[in-house]
């Protein structure tokens, strides 16, 4: 379980978020929403340990997060960054890095690790890119590969900053379905989303940050009923029957996709 106690975080003497108390339970999806610059990413980064609290604390299973050795922390929390460098290495090599927190020096992959890597790539329908260089992939393909890397890290807590960026609607929806599956496995998922529709549909808890840095939490229904979206975004949102649905959820399962692996490339280049 991840807990934020009276947390204040900021950069260069300026607070971005103040006095936040939150706790994240296993088997739930938490979505952070708010306007640009409201501190969504900052909040997520504090959960990952990337930002150290100025005041208050971040507790992982009752112990202060910053007290964890780097390796142990990486076995528990994975983080999908909004911006990543793309060195000219193969997807296979990138995914191998995701297993390193679980391995001791000299970090040789076991069969078990290789299976996890293939499963993660299958889940993101990215198995066919395995021998491609990161640089050769499009934005969306690269995003799927980074998501697969995070899945391969196989942590109980997943932090995702705008995971649907660059993704076609097909992959956005299958990602959301996949997150539901991970949640059912007892994982804690905390993400930042821009798409309110998806946030309200797929989350168990919404964390809404308004421009005055006030933080509202509640189930999607509570958030809707409480008029929080009006306070935060200055828009009126109402329920509607019109929704995107994934017609064939079977296509999302890893078994259906993993057979693709073996082809050297998904498309001719």
């Amino acid at each position: 379980m991840l807990e934020l106690n009276n947390l204040s975080v900021g950069y260069d003497g300026r607070y971005v978020i103040r006095n936040v108390d939150l706790s994240f339970e296993p088997g739930n999806i938490y979505t952070i929403i708010g306007k640009n610059g409201s501190g969504k990413s900052t909040l997520l980064k504090s959960c990952s340990g990337l930002l150290t609290p100025k005041v208050g604390s971040v507790l992982l299973d009752g112990k202060e997060l910053s007290k964890y050795p780097a390796n142990q922390r990486a076995q528990k929390i994975s983080y999908l960054s909004q911006s990543t460098n793309t060195p000219n290495i193969t997807v296979e090599r990138l995914l191998a890095h995701a297993r390193f927190p679980h391995l001791s020096y000299p970090k040789k992959l076991r069969q078990e690790d290789i299976n996890i890597i293939y499963r993660a790539l299958g889940d993101m329908k990215a198995a066919c890119f395995i021998h491609d260089s990161l640089r050769e992939l499009s934005g969306g393909e690269r995003q799927r590969v980074y998501l697969a890397m995070q899945l391969a890290q196989d942590t109980p807590i997943l932090l995702l900053d705008e995971p649907t960026t660059y993704l076609d609607i097909e992959y956005q929806l299958s990602l959301m379905e996949l997150l539901q599956k991970l949640k059912a496995q007892g994982k804690t998922i905390i993400m930042v989303l821009h798409d309110l529709e998806q946030a309200l549909k797929y989350s168990d808890q919404i964390i809404a940050i308004d421009a005055g840095k006030e933080i509202y939490t509640g189930t999607p229904d509570e958030i809707l009923a409480g008029g929080i979206l009006r306070k935060v975004f200055h828009v009126d949102v109402q329920r509607s029957d019109y929704r995107f649905e994934l017609k064939n959820p079977a296509a999302v399962s890893s078994e259906a996709v993993i057979t693709v692996f073996g082809n050297s490339s998904c498309r001719s280049r």
């Binding site: 990486a74 960054s81 460098n85 193969t90 890095h97 995701a98």
Partner: protein, 330 residues
């Protein structure tokens, strides 16, 4: 597709899995070492050379080793610096690492004229200072590659000016600054060379053993951190290694330009950015290139010799310009 790129792709596919490129490069290096030992003002056969142990031991062997280790040190430092700054245009000479080492070497030569062994240490400190300064600047400036390069160029110019000033005020500095500035192996002192060579070897082994970690850092600090790397600790370790490799090379070979920039870039085209392959291949090619250039420099106009720095720059400048045009620096 461009012919050169096509050829590079072919080379990459051909060599990638087989490690053949390492075998070929190693063989080439051994061959060039033997040739380089044999040629000079007088050309000997290898058998004749073995009968002249003094020439071998005191003249040709140190010279060849100087080229091998200086090339290795500069190219290795180039890979590390480019990886940490996420910028393939940031060679150790461009961002002032070499000039930092050069300045401190001069200071050491001035203060301890009779202890040349101090020079590698001083060069290391100078290189470390530059590397740290550029790194801190790049942290402050965020991801702007232009800012990093520009601040490096400014630092480079500042340190070179300081070196010039030092030579103006103390014209009797123990070493020839003119030769030092273009870089050359003609006046290599074994007292400086051997400790520096050992340092370069040790640092090479350390970095190669931690190649995975360096590669993780190339994914960006945030990603490396969340994948369990103690970012601050390892960044410091690699910066120290880069400074050590560049500093050690500069301490006996002078300010050789371009090598630390172009060699890793060439190796990247063949093996990509995978550090486990890129780092050793760059080191190998650095040695090879510098040895070839030095052999050319001391034989084409024999008994006069060109400075190896001149030969490298003549080859390096066009390659660098081509790189700039192709990359459209971002």
């Amino acid at each position: 597709m461009h012919g050169g790129v096509k050829a590079m792709k072919f080379l990459r596919n051909f060599f990638h899995s087989k490690g053949a490129i390492f075998a070929v490069s190693t063989l080439a290096l051994i061959l060039v070492i033997i040739v380089s030992l044999c040629v000079g003002v007088v050309i000997y056969t290898p058998v004749q050379l073995l009968e002249l142990p003094d020439i071998l031991r005191y003249i040709r062997f140190p010279r060849v080793m100087a080229a091998v280790f200086a090339g290795a040190g500069l190219a290795g430092a180039g890979v590390i610096i480019q990886t940490l700054l996420g910028n393939s245009l940031a060679g150790p000479n461009i961002i002032g690492v070499n000039s930092g080492a050069g300045f401190m070497t001069l200071v050491a030569a001035l203060i301890f004229p009779l202890i040349p062994q101090m020079q590698p240490l001083a060069a290391f400190l100078g290189a470390l200072f530059s590397v740290m300064l550029i790194y801190l600047l790049s942290r402050k400036a965020g991801t702007s590659k232009m800012t990093i390069l520009l601040s490096g160029v400014v630092l480079n110019s500042l340190l070179n000016a300081a070196s010039e000033a030092l030579c103006t005020f103390f014209p009797d500095v123990h070493m020839s600054y003119a030769a030092f500035r273009v870089g050359g192996l003609a006046t290599v002192q074994t007292l400086v060379l051997y400790p520096a060579a050992i340092l370069i070897t040790v640092l090479f082994i350390i970095v190669q053993c931690r190649a995975n970690t360096l590669e993780l850092l190339s994914l960006g600090d945030d990603t490396a951190f969340t994948l369990g790397v103690s970012v601050k600790k390892y960044r410091l370790l690699f910066l120290v290694c880069a400074a050590g490799m560049a500093g050690a090379a500069v301490s006996f070979a002078g300010l050789i330009g371009f090598l630390g920039l172009i060699v890793p870039h060439g190796a990247r085209l063949v093996v990509g950015d995978e550090i486990k392959k890129l780092f050793p291949l760059s080191v190998l090619w650095g040695s090879l290139l510098l040895l070839v250039c030095d052999t050319v420099a001391r034989t084409v106009f024999a008994p006069f010799e060109l400075s190896v720095g001149i030969v490298i720059s003549i080859i390096g400048a066009p390659i660098f310009i081509r790189m700039l045009l192709k990359r459209k620096v971002g």
